[in-house]
Structure formats: C-alpha cells, structure tokens
Symmetry: D2
C-alpha cells in the first residue's frame, strides 16, 4: 500500500534516517522530455531549511534518476529516482523507540511492526518521505502542463488567519504561497509566534486543477474525489478534504447548490462551480477544486504526557531537535504533487478511451 | 475502478433501470456463517419508500446470492449477489439523454461514454447502485462484529439543524438516526419543508468504528484515512470527509491538538481522540471517527437552467418523478457499509501480519 | 485471484452445483455492439452433451446479461453476466466430501478452505466455471475481431494421435476441431475406446492469434507469454504451455532458432516464426502461437486408490456420474477465450500508448 | 507490468547500460533477519564473468539496500535495493538502434516505445535486469527456507545432452548445476563447442519446491501454475513451462496419470507426483515441480539477416561483444528466484487464511 495509481503506478520507499528515500514510477509514456531544472525548483519548494519558520535540517534534495531515461527523454520503462539522506542525525531520536511522541506514528508503527519499525525521525512515516512523493508528483505535474492542465494552490488559512482573494494563478512567485501578500505576512507572524512559544499551528491548503477537460475520472471508487483523497491523505498531517462547496454544501438547499449548465462560446459550462469541477466522480470541464486540512505539527518543544512502552509507566516528553512550527507552507507543493499524481493517472486512463473513439 | 479493496476485493455493477444491481466479493474467508436476516434488515435501512421524505419508488431490495455459500456458510471462493430492479419506470427519464440534470452525472457520463451511457435514472451513477455496495458492506460489518469491531453512525446535521449529544452506540433503534430524538424531529420537519418547496437539503453524517485494535492500516496510500475516503467518496453526493478534529484541527495549536498517551488498565490509550483513532494511517486503539458531508439531492422539482446537448441551446428542466428531498437518512447505512469495507479490508491485511508474529 | 487483467478486469464466480456461474467485466469500452448470437454459438462449442464422447449433462448455457448494455451496445460500465445451473444433480457427489478424487482439487480445496469448500461436482474448481470464462473471453474475441485480430485453434494431438497440416484458419467448421478430418476421426475413435475402458485421455491444443500488430505486450511480468500463461493455466487440466518452438527451442542452436528479419511489402517481418510472434514479451507482428498440454480427465470409472479424510484410512473410489472421457475438445474454445482475454487486455494497454503518440 | 505479486509486490527497474538496476519489495514482514552474505552468494550464481562459457563482462553485482532495514532486520516497510552498472560499454551497441538483432527485443521495443527505448545492450530487456529479480527472489528464497520450504533446481538438458538421476537436493555444490557430474561435463563441452562455432545453444531447467504444505495457492488465475508461469516467463529466453508430467501428461490415460492418494505416517500424500504437487492450482503437500524451456542465446557471432529500420533495407548483422554462448547455467538461479517469488507470495496469502482459522 505504498503504491498508488492505476495507469501510472508509483511506489514510494525510504526512511527519514535511512540511506535514501525514493520513488519508482511505472506507466509514464515513452518520448516525454523532462525539465529536470524545473523539477529541482519544484522539490526546493518542499525542501527544509529555507526560512525562519522551517526546520534547520539541510538537505540538497537533489534526485538521482537511476532508470527510465535516455538523453533526458523517457524510455517508457520504469523510472526510479532517489534522494540520499545527507543530514540525518540519529542521536536526536534514541528516546523515541520507547517514548512515542503524541500526534506521531511512533506508537502505531511500534504496534504494527512489533517493535521493528525504523524509529529514528519517524522512519517511513516521516515527512521526509514526501520528498519522494514530490519527485513522482513533480513529473506528473510537468506532464499535465504539456496537456494544458495546471495544478495550482495556496494556503487558505494558518490557524485562524485566512487568505484573501480568489486562487486564479500560481502563488509560487509570492514566495509565501498566498494570494494576499498581507495575509501571508500575518500568517508568517502567527507561525513565528507559535514557534517562540515552543508550540505549532495548522492550516488549510486550497488546490485547483485548471484546464482539465470533461470526461476524466471513473465511477464509484474511481471517481476523482476518491483518487485525489487517496493520494492527499498519504501526506502526514492531512486530516480532512472537501471538494467544491464541501462541508458548506451540507448546509445548503439543492436549488442553491446545483450548478446550472450554460453555453459559453459553444461549450457546455456551469454558471457556478460548487461541485468543484466533479460530477459523479468525473470532471465536468470546470476547475477541479479541493481544500485539505493540515493539523498542527505534532513535534513541539512544550512538555507533553506520553507512556514509556517498556515500563508501561506514564511519563513526559519534550520533542527537541529540528521541527517546523507549521508544516503547511512546505506541504503546499506536496498537495500539488498528490493532486497531480491523481489527475494524471485518471487522465492516462481517459486517453485509452479517447483512443478507442478517435 | 468499480473494484475496491486489497484483501477483500469488491466489484459493484448495475444500472438504475437495468435488470439488476449486484456485487462480487473476493477474499471473504471460508467458514463464516452469515445472518441473512440481519443483512436484510441492514439493506432495509437504505431501501426507498419507507417514509414521507423518501422516494415513493418501491423495491423489495432482497439480495439473491449466486455463489460463495454452502449451507449459509462461506466457501472462501467469490461471493456474488444481485438485487433485481423490479420497479424501474424508464419513461420518466427519456428527456435526460439530451437535457442533463444540474448536479447529476448525466453530462459527465455523456461525455465520458460518448453518449452510450445508460441514462435512465442516472444509470450506473444512480444511488440505486449503493444497494449493491450495502450487500458487500453489510457482510463486512457482520464479519467485523464477530471480531468485536462495531460500525455506528448518526446524522450530525441536516441543513443547519444539528444533532445533540455524543455518538456512543447505534442510533438504529431511534428510527431516525440521531442521538437526540428532538433534534431528529426538527431535522425531519426541515426535510418536509424543503420537499413542500420542491427543493432539497444536505447534511453531515458522523461515523465511528468502535473496538478496532491498534495496528490496523498501512503507511502512505494504505492509511485508514486513504482507505475510508476512497470508499466513502464512492457514495453519490458525498463531497467532503474529515477524521477526528478534521478541519477544526487546522485552526488549532499542536499543544491543544495532540492527544496525550496514557495508561488505562495496563493498556496504552490517548486522553483525548482528536486524531480520530488514526496516527500515521494506522489505528491507535481509540474509536475511529469521521464525518462525511452530503450535498443536497440535486433532483428538485424547481425549474433549473440546463443545456440541450443536441441543439446546444440553453433551456430549463424541472426534475419530475420520485426523489428524496434529502438523501442523508438513506445514506447513513451506506456510509457504514463503506466504512466497514475499508476497515475490514485493512483488518484482513493485519491478520496476515499477526499470523506471522503469533 | 479469481480476477484477471490490467485494462480489462474479469472476475469469475460460481460453483458447479450452485445457483449460477458468472463473470463481471470491467474495462470494456463504451459503444461496442455485441453479437449475442455469435457469443451463444461460441458458448455452445464448450457446452456439454453435444456428442458421444462428452458428458450427458445438459445445460442451455445461455448467459443472462445483468448490466453494462443499453440497446445491445456497451455502456462502458461493468458488464455482469450469469449462466444458471439448471441440471445440477448434487446427489451424485455426496461421497466427495470425505473421499477426494485422484487428480481433482477435492483434497486441496478441503485443506485450503478447512472443509468449507463447495464439494459437489468440484464446486468452484469444476470445469463448469469455464462457461463464465467463455462469456468474458467470447466478448474479448469478438472485440478483437473488429480490430482484425483473430484467435484460432485446433487439437494438435489426443493421446498419441497427432493432427496433420498447419493451423491457418478456424477449425470450427470441421465440427471436430482438427485441420485434418482423418486425424480428427482417429482421435474420436481413440476417445471412444478410452470411454469404453472406463478410462480417459489427454491431448494438446494449439492456438494462434492472427493479425496482432507489433508492439502489444509489456516487459518483464507483463509479457504476452506471462499474460497468456496466467490466463490459460486457469483452465482446469492444463499442465503446460509453450510459445513458438517452445521446448524444441531448448534443443536448438541460436543460428537455427533465431528468426531472421526481412522486409515484406515494406513491412518488417521475420522469415520464420520460432519465436511464436513474441520477442521480449512484445508482439512482433507475426502470428502469436502457443500450445497447451491438457491432462487426461481425472474422473474415470476405473477404481482408484484414495483416502477417507475422516477416518484417515486408505480406500478406493470409482467416479460415477457424467464425465468427459476427454476434455480436450471442449477445452478448445476455453483456450481461445483465455488467449482472447490476455491479448485484448494487452491490446487495450497498447491503445493508451498509441493515443499518446498519435 | 514490471510489478509482480499480490501479497509481496516486487517492482523491477533499470537498463543494461543505465546507472543501475534495482527492485522495490513491498509486503515483506517486519522482524525478518536477512543473511546478506548468503544473498550475495546467491547473486554470484547469476553473475557474469565466472567461467569460460559466460560473458566476459565483469560486475561486482553487490546490491545496496536503500530502505526497509534497521540493524539488518526488516522494518515491514518497502525494501529498495540497487546494483550499480559498473562495466557498461555503450559503444558496443550503437548499431542496435537501427539494426535489430534477431531473437532479441530490439525491434519490438523500438515499435512499442516509438524509438525511445534504451537500446544499448537491450536496455530494460537485457538479462542484466534479472540481477534485480534475483535480489527480490533471493530474499523470498531465504524467507521460505525459514519456513522449511526449499527451492532447488538443475539443468535438465543442454541442447540434446540430458542430465541423469533425480533432482533431490541442491545442485549448487556441484559447481555446474547438474545431478550427474559427468552429464554436466558433457554439457559444458557442448557449450564450448558452440562458442567455438560462434553459435549458441539452449536447454531445459528443472525446478522443485520442497516442503511446501498443502493449501497454498488460489483458484482460477491465482493457481500456483499461473503464478509461477507469470514469474518465470519474465526471464528473457524462457519459451515454455510444464508442471509435473506436463506435456507428457497429454499423451497419457487418466488411470496412468492420476496420482493415487495414500496415507503416509498419518498424513495424506500421493503415491506418485505426476501433478507436480499442484491440484486445482493449490499445493497438495508433494514437491512442486516444473521444467522451463530456455531458448539458445540469440546473440551470436555468426552473420544473420536483419533489417535496417531507417532505410528499410535488408542487411546482415554479426553480434560482436560479450555474450554467453549458453544462458542456461546463469538462468538457473533466476528460475529459482522467480519460483521463490511466486511461492512466497502465495504462501503469505495462505498465512492470512490460517490466521483466521488458528
């Protein structure tokens, strides 16, 4: 279950403090030219050590591609890529094997793997593994862009601070990924304040997929909501997802919620987009929109109650070391990566259908 | 992508007005005795025509099992079951092929299947197909109960009317599935009012899985959140899902959100359950909790704007026929079915691990 | 593992003496017109009770399609079809639960399913289930024919009697599926002789796929050999498969075995076809050829040694009831069905690639 | 389709002259101690440059494990391992892009990947990739041995030279993997003679799985024959497989072929093992036996006819460079690896069933 996808199969591997993290991608067509510099820039958006409010851990995060390319063009056979872990400090983590950190997978991994889990830095459950997810998702994002399909996102809120304006284009140029520069500044101040308190804070990420034609997605378990959710929940700390009006729709009436069909330049569109671009699991040609809830970073300096799994006595823990007081900014490209994987996978399936009916 | 599951594979088939809907289940162990009467009662909770606020369409909804049983005991080979469509009225639907209903899959299905979709009553995208999902999920729910794992749920809200109290046990006995009888009565009045206006209303369903031991679920894409979301979004009208504190967690600090580990009767538990019983995608032994947002029924008598796909002219539609002014009450057992499928599937995988370490 | 396929997923269910056998097919494109009469004729080739040397069991073997069609055209959503078991005589089989038949799955099924297997007539392991395989394979065969790809086959040998001539076209018109009418007559005499002795006999089936373009199939585990073998070994009694020169190739030198590439009417072909149309798992444009070894029917009237699983005492069994003294003739269309499933599945995958490069 | 397995999922990647070949394994239980020295010895059996009749290409073939281990014990999360290509000589291969080698995948890969395939040394279709298969299979073999299940094999024939005696134990100690040292010597002489002629020769490999309990395997497409064949045909040059009596069974009568059930030390066994240890796709407790036909190495110095794909003119090719005049000896451990993967995968599924019925 570290593998995702139907037409593009991605397997993610690695541990926070192992030799490397990586991904193997099966199903990327032959003949695709990849912009490795652009991929590198995409990975840098997730990379640590960039600013005051992210972990001091430094990693080059430069992927090495081991297979699947000939002269920077895809061969059509599996693509494998790895990122070496160059700055792992295992000594920070010796305590974790017996004293699970609240809000982390330390305890559940210990139970599931009978004490054999890689415990240093959260092992396979570390956010570090999302670097591998971003290699695969970054490639999918590039391939979608060639088809005129663009994945954009923004931080919709940090704690109770909300962004202003509508997400219409990439927020990457803004540095801090918000539509409103002012709101972004307030969010950064909020994060800095929590860090000073030895605490952390959560937030919401909004993501849109623009340019996706109608007809992408499948019924039942293959719907775009199912596919996107199955990918986005792979991101540690994501605890909720809603499409279009989402939870707000639950408060509405049908007449207020339904998106009326209209004709625009000879094309069928909807007057509004409360459906988030998805009807019956299938894209309707409008922007695919969703919001993901990210919980506050569980690693905090503040003392917390936990249990010593060996003595079964209650104790306390204060999580030292290098942590993001807010994981949301670094999670933004990861959400894009997950969305890109899901949409590109469904889009490849759609190609199969259009080929038959060409 | 009409197939779900890793250890228990379920394929759902059928159309609203075809000969039958059904499910094939692969992976249910040999030697399980099934209580078909209990399954029948479970299916009745979803069945139409039960009360003032649900469609007048009447179906026996009695499944016929075609394989996988010997003397009411599972053989271990695939179980196939079907429900005949006995009350299909295709003439109600002739208009839908050219005039897609807002909020329905009529348009997206027409694009995806190049006009070959079964259009009567929404075809494969009809809520009717969830009857098949409930056969599979109903069996999974029974099998989980034998292991001491119980799936319960309630309507958390209809429109702006919220239930009161905490979900601690099955609400089935209450008829209308709420914890508070009074809140339930208010909700029913709200639904009746919307029906009188030729309109509809949405709501939120809360579901809990009690008794699930720690260690069930997998990393990355195999997390319980991923699995449950991938199943629940198969239910038409579900547009959002959140686990534990969900979107509220995004507003919180780490110190306020983390669940402290404690020792209770020699067992590790958490003092609170904001994680919704899931850490790193794996159950931690606390109740698994999630909430699903259900949009208002798109089928409404009120006139709505749509497009004639043949003439490409804008027109209007008023959806006649038999419709639920609120699908939420009938969706409650379907959410339980989806949750049961997801948890039972993950639980079977866990059995494989515990066997190795027995 | 009762499910086969990557792009066309087929799940087969049912038991010999249960209510029905059937298949669910996911991935058949929308808009395909199906010739149900031709499918019925195909199923009749496998049906019992046709002649002196096949079981007297009579079944209409007429499939009922439950989903996936609108006006005889595929909708693109799952196709479910069943065949009712109308002539099951369970009383013939009461003894089998404790006294496993040599050469049958009675014993292994009893172990695997802890005694809960459907034991009457071999249950899920009965050749009866291949009727469901033939529904799916028969559809795949029709869909391939629309693309100019034809699956043909013949009995290459029964016991030590070999067919003469080369397989160049369908042998269906010959009644008994051999190229040489004389050889076919000798084979039938051989079968009749074995029946008279209360014995049975095996044989070899040769199958060819004509018209398959180069480029179909995948590397490693996705090769055409892997895919075809994985389907053909689902047929009870098949114990070997070889492609092209097969086991003969193992005795040859490279210079004698390699097929030289030539240009024929501006197209690349090979001078010979010892590769059986497959290089590196991928079709090379030449006929795909393979041979399947079918063991003698294990059900024989002659007394055989077996064990009473309850008393664990050695005993004897004489398999009464209705049995084919040679299953090979009825297995011919089943081999075609399995080959058609494998090739159509790979061909659908190829469509995805060609679409990208159109 | 470079991924294999149901409970143990293995994805193989890499090209002959790319940076590395490797494998990712998902589903290996936590807590397994791995003997890396034994794995290294296993890989050396496949490694080139060992003797007079194998390619002069030298590779350390030492795998680097990137994930899935903590202190040499499996963590239960994905295991990734790679082998760097240290002796790639691309200049040998420049001609292959336009002049496909007879008997190789050069032509079919060029068609499938529209000319974008990695053509040097056969790229992803090179026998080099089986080194990755042997990492995964070697681990599976070790894990099976802990359960008392042993995979052994021998060369049954090279060209027309047959081994003598019965395969009862590992032939590894014999250096050349035959039961009869004399027969082995004759085979080596045969290979040397073909090499001197600038030719090559094929052979047959016999493999047995000893100690596998009854009840392992699944019906239909999940049978042990299906699973083993689907793995073994991933080995380049394998063109046929037969289980137990295989093609010989096709010449036999039921009374001569059926294996009588007997009681041996209170256990059910069969008097003979013509079924090759498999009935209905499920192990019956007897040794699982199969034979794989390996075609002669297609790379030969002798001049052969081929086509220039650019000019579409017929031409000739003489394959220079480093090639095995007979691939069979090096294929022996690869066949063991493929068999181990298939049996271990099915065995893990069986653990799930026994857990339920413990």
């Amino acid at each position: 279950m570290d593998t995702y996808g139907e037409n593009l199969k991605v397997t993610v591997f690695g541990e926070s403090h192992g030799p490397a993290v990586g991904a193997v991608m099966e199903g990327i067509p032959a003949g695709e030219t990849v912009d490795f510099e652009a991929l590198g820039r995409f990975l840098q958006r997730r990379a640590p050590g960039q600013n005051a409010y992210s972990t001091a851990r430094k990693e080059a995060d430069e992927p090495e591609f081991l297979s699947g390319f000939q002269d920077n063009v895809t061969t059509g056979t599996p693509i494998a890529a790895i990122i070496r872990n160059t700055d792992a400090k295992s000594k920070d983590y010796s305590e974790l094997k017996v004293k699970p950190r609240p809000g982390h997978a330390d305890y559940t991994a210990a139970v599931k793997y009978f004490g054999h889990q890689a415990y240093a830095g959260g092992g396979h459950f570390s956010g570090r593994v999302t670097a591998a997810l971003c290699i695969a998702g970054g490639l999918a994002k590039q391939l979608l862009e060639k088809e005129g399909i663009f994945v954009i996102s923004r931080i919709a809120s940090i704690g109770t601070v909300e962004d202003e304006g509508e997400l219409l284009e990439s927020t990457e140029k803004n540095g801090f990924p918000t539509v409103s520069i002012n709101a972004g500044a307030t969010m950064q101040a909020c994060i800095a304040a929590k860090k000073a308190e030895g605490d952390s804070v959560g937030g919401v990420i909004e993501c849109k997929v623009l340019g996706c034609p109608a007809g992408v997605g499948d019924p039942m378990f293959g719907g775009l909501e199912n596919r996107i959710a199955a990918a986005v929940f792979a991101i540690p700390a994501v605890k909720g997802i809603e499409f279009g009006a989402g939870f707000t729709a639950a408060k509405m009436t049908g007449s207020a919620h339904n998106d009326a069909f209209i004709v625009d330049n000879g094309k069928v569109k909807t007057e509004t987009n409360r459906a988030g671009g998805i009807l019956g699991g299938i894209s309707n040609g409008m922007p695919i929109t969703f919001r993901a809830a990210v919980k506050p970073t569980p690693s905090i300096a503040k003392e917390q109650k936990t249990v010593n799994l060996e003595t079964m006595e209650e104790t306390v823990i204060s999580v030292e070391g290098r942590h993001d007081p807010c994981i949301v900014p670094r999670a933004v490209p990861v959400v894009e990566a997950a969305a890109a994987l899901a949409v590109y996978d469904a889009w490849l399936g759609r190609r199969k259908e259009t080929a038959r009916n060409a």
